[in-house]
């Protein structure tokens, strides 16, 4: 295997880990409540801007920016749940779709209004530069994002499968009436799910901001990838989102290098559709 090919694959894995990072929250919400959160990409965008503001005001990098972004976005998640989601869940499907879509536009254009359309950036190498391992170039910022992606996936998975809180959340997802009969309040569980999911996007955004440009429309760009990742991984499966993300990253990277960059999206989506045809529930979703 040629050396450049190894670099391409490593790059693909790091890219895929980033995709997994910001998709982890989406699968939780989608799997639990059947709500497609079209504003997911824009939550990540907000996380990026929080990191930028923290840097501009206090001169600190993601060490302070990431926790703050997580907290702020988690709060936003709760507010959005009680303010919007809880009511539109009672409505027809169209209302649900348009509701979160409208939220996405509201968030995006508020940021446009406040920050303007200019591309912003955190300083190059705020986390650390690029280092070489056996001649392979690895960006410290992407490596950090990848490591955090693994930790978040592990954390969420353990939360859902090993804790009583997780069991309660899954119970509400399975049958909210029965859960109520068992003394679990669906409202609280769903609000917690939203808080966790939104917090994850805040964390993702703050870390991605260390190597990606910051602009209000970045949510659009990343949002689509999040949906594909979650669908491929299986709704509600957090480990599935990780595996799917990594897979998509590597396929994208390889096809971009071997076939040509214009075709990499075609390859990814063609394989994605083909896979879903065989296995509609995704890689690790429940049938």
């Amino acid at each position: 295997m040629s050396f450049v090919l190894v670099q391409v694959i490593v790059g693909g894995l790091l890219l895929g880990a980033v995709y997994a990072l910001f998709s982890s929250g989406l699968t939780l919400v989608w799997g639990m409540m059947n709500i497609v959160n079209f504003a997911h990409g824009d939550f990540v965008m907000l996380g990026m801007y929080v990191a930028f503001v923290v840097f501009t005001l206090f001169g600190v990098g993601p060490l302070a920016g990431a926790p703050l972004a997580t907290l702020l976005l988690a709060t936003l998640g709760v507010v959005v749940y009680f303010g919007l989601i809880r009511d539109i869940m009672k409505g027809p499907m169209l209302a649900q779709i348009l509701g979160t879509f409208g939220l996405a536009l509201l968030l995006r254009y508020s940021v446009f209004w406040w920050f303007g359309a200019n591309f912003l950036s955190l300083p190059q190498n705020i986390v650390g530069g690029t280092f070489a391992i056996f001649g392979l170039r690895i960006e410290a910022s992407r490596l950090l994002a990848g490591a955090v992606a693994l930790l978040v996936t592990l954390g969420l998975h353990l939360l859902l499968t090993r804790t009583s809180l997780g069991s309660k959340m899954l119970a509400v997802a399975e049958d909210s009436t029965a859960a109520q009969l068992m003394g679990i309040r669906p409202d609280t569980m769903q609000a917690i799910a939203w808080a966790i999911a939104a917090g994850a996007t805040g964390l993702a955004g703050a870390l991605i901001a260390t190597f990606f440009y910051i602009v209000p429309t970045v949510g659009e760009t990343l949002g689509i990838v999040a949906f594909v990742t979650v669908s491929l991984g299986g709704f509600g499966s957090v480990p599935g989102a990780l595996v799917a993300g990594l897979l998509i990253g590597v396929i994208e990277s390889l096809s971009g290098y071997l076939i040509g960059a214009v075709y990499k999206d075609i390859v990814v989506y063609a394989l994605f559709l083909f896979f879903l045809w065989f296995r509609p529930q995704g890689l690790m979703g429940k049938a």
Binding site: V8, F119, F211, T217, G256
Partner: protein, 421 residues
């Protein structure tokens, strides 16, 4: 329940009113105000460019609508308003093309049919100028473009489309002559790679450069196409690193340009020479974000500030006050296109569409009447300015571009190889 119902109906009414309420002014106001439409990207990947275009045109409006004696004989500056129309003011209605050709077309249609504009300008992205001007042609509305360079825009046999900027074929010629001079000075320029997006702009400019170079006997050794608004360009940079061309010509909008610069630094790739085809690389956002790691990038430009007290320096100053940024080549070209359009309306002495078209056809501006470094403005029968020209500039310190070629108008000597960071 009754209050909720009322509230719901009230909200619906307010929204309907807001959506419908962009009604046109009464006919009586037409004589005093000349309405011009401007379609630009206010959102999307090129939003920064669109926002700067808006600033540029607003500065131009200020110069036209108010008396600016300090600009001397610069067209339309001396008096307040348009002398040819009895002091009528110019009003520009901006529309957002959202980076999409379909939206740009719809916005142009809305400006023509609802806002009743007498002329259009825009739309930055060649692919969107294509569709927006097609609508203008159908409605016989003059469309003056100042900045889109795809060659085919003036190859459609349109009678209402005019373009003031130099185009891809002009730049291909400039790049070739520049590379030939650099070769004579000792640089290696035999292997040229093109990196471009898959929009009308990227594809047609790449095509134009390839055929122009081929005619002169210089083949393009690598053509890297990528999908616009990329999330990741590592594979493309690795391809370049492997092939190791002598010259890389970048044809990208802002977000992709920033991504390429960052990725090149991450993968430690420094081509011996990078020539950027304006657009993304001239955007102030690009310089702010990655200027320091892109030192030595060559670029094309038709704008230079000029000595203090000159009209161009005063205009640059007004622009800086309005936008907070230095005037860049793209914003300047847009502004020039707008001035040419309004100058034609002024000469026509009327807002009758056919008269504006005739005045545009008869345009013959001399270099001293322009803010750009063109040799003049004169349209051929395809609507293209045959006197457009440009120079090569270089981002030597990572913060400002300086002119480096041709030697006669160079402020500094070109520096090779590419420094990067």
């Amino acid at each position: 329940m009754k209050f909720r119902r009322f509230l719901g109906l009230f909200c619906a009414a307010v929204i309907s009113a807001a959506l419908a309420g962009q009604g046109s002014d009464s006919a009586a106001a037409e004589d005093k105000v000349v309405k011009i439409g401007a379609v630009f990207p206010m959102t999307g990947g090129a939003a920064s460019a669109g926002v700067h275009a808006k600033y540029a045109i607003e500065v131009a409006m200020d110069i036209i609508n108010n008396a600016h004696p300090e600009l001397g004989d610069f067209p339309l500056a001396k008096n307040a308003g348009l002398a040819g129309l009895g002091g009528a003011k110019v009003d520009v209605v901006f529309a957002d093309n959202q980076g999409s050709p379909a939206t740009g077309q719809n916005q142009a249609l809305r400006l023509i049919t609802e806002e009743k504009v007498v002329a259009l300008t825009g739309a930055y992205q060649s692919g969107i100028t294509l569709t927006a001007s097609a609508i203008a042609e159908r409605y016989s509305i003059p469309f003056v473009n100042g900045e889109s360079v795809a060659a085919n825009l003036t190859e459609r046999g349109f009678k209402w489309f005019f373009r003031t900027t130099p185009i891809a074929s002009d730049f291909a010629k400039i790049y070739y002559e520049f590379l030939t001079d650099m070769k004579a000075a000792g640089a290696k320029t035999d292997n040229v790679a093109l990196v471009h997006d898959n929009t009308e702009y990227g594809t047609s400019v790449a095509g134009t450069i390839t055929s122009a170079f081929k005619e002169k006997g210089l083949a393009i050794t690598l053509d890297v196409a990528y999908a616009v608004n990329a999330t990741d360009v590592q594979s493309q940079v690795l391809q370049l690193k492997e092939k190791n061309p002598d010259v890389v010509i970048m044809i990208s909008y802002t977000s992709d340009a920033i991504l390429f610069s960052k990725t090149m630094q991450a993968l430690d790739y420094k081509p011996p020479m990078i020539v950027a085809d304006d657009s993304g690389y001239s955007d102030p956002s690009f310089i702010k974000a990655v200027g320091k790691i892109s030192q030595g990038t060559f670029n094309r430009s038709s704008w230079s500030v000029g000595p203090p007290g000159s009209p161009t320096a005063i205009i640059a100053d007004l622009y800086k006050k309005k936008s907070g940024d230095e005037m860049d080549d793209t914003a300047a070209r847009e502004m020039q296109g707008f001035f040419v359009l309004v100058d034609a309306i002024d000469r026509a002495g009327s807002t009758e569409l056919a008269k504006i078209q005739a005045a545009l056809k008869a345009t013959d501006l001399k270099p001293e009447q322009l803010m750009m470094g063109y040799k003049g403005v004169k349209f051929d029968d395809k609507g293209q300015n045959i006197l457009a020209s440009g120079v090569i500039i270089q981002l030597q310190d990572g913060e400002n571009y300086v002119s480096v070629w041709p030697k006669a108008s160079a402020a500094k000597a070109p520096i090779v190889p590419y420094k990067g960071w």
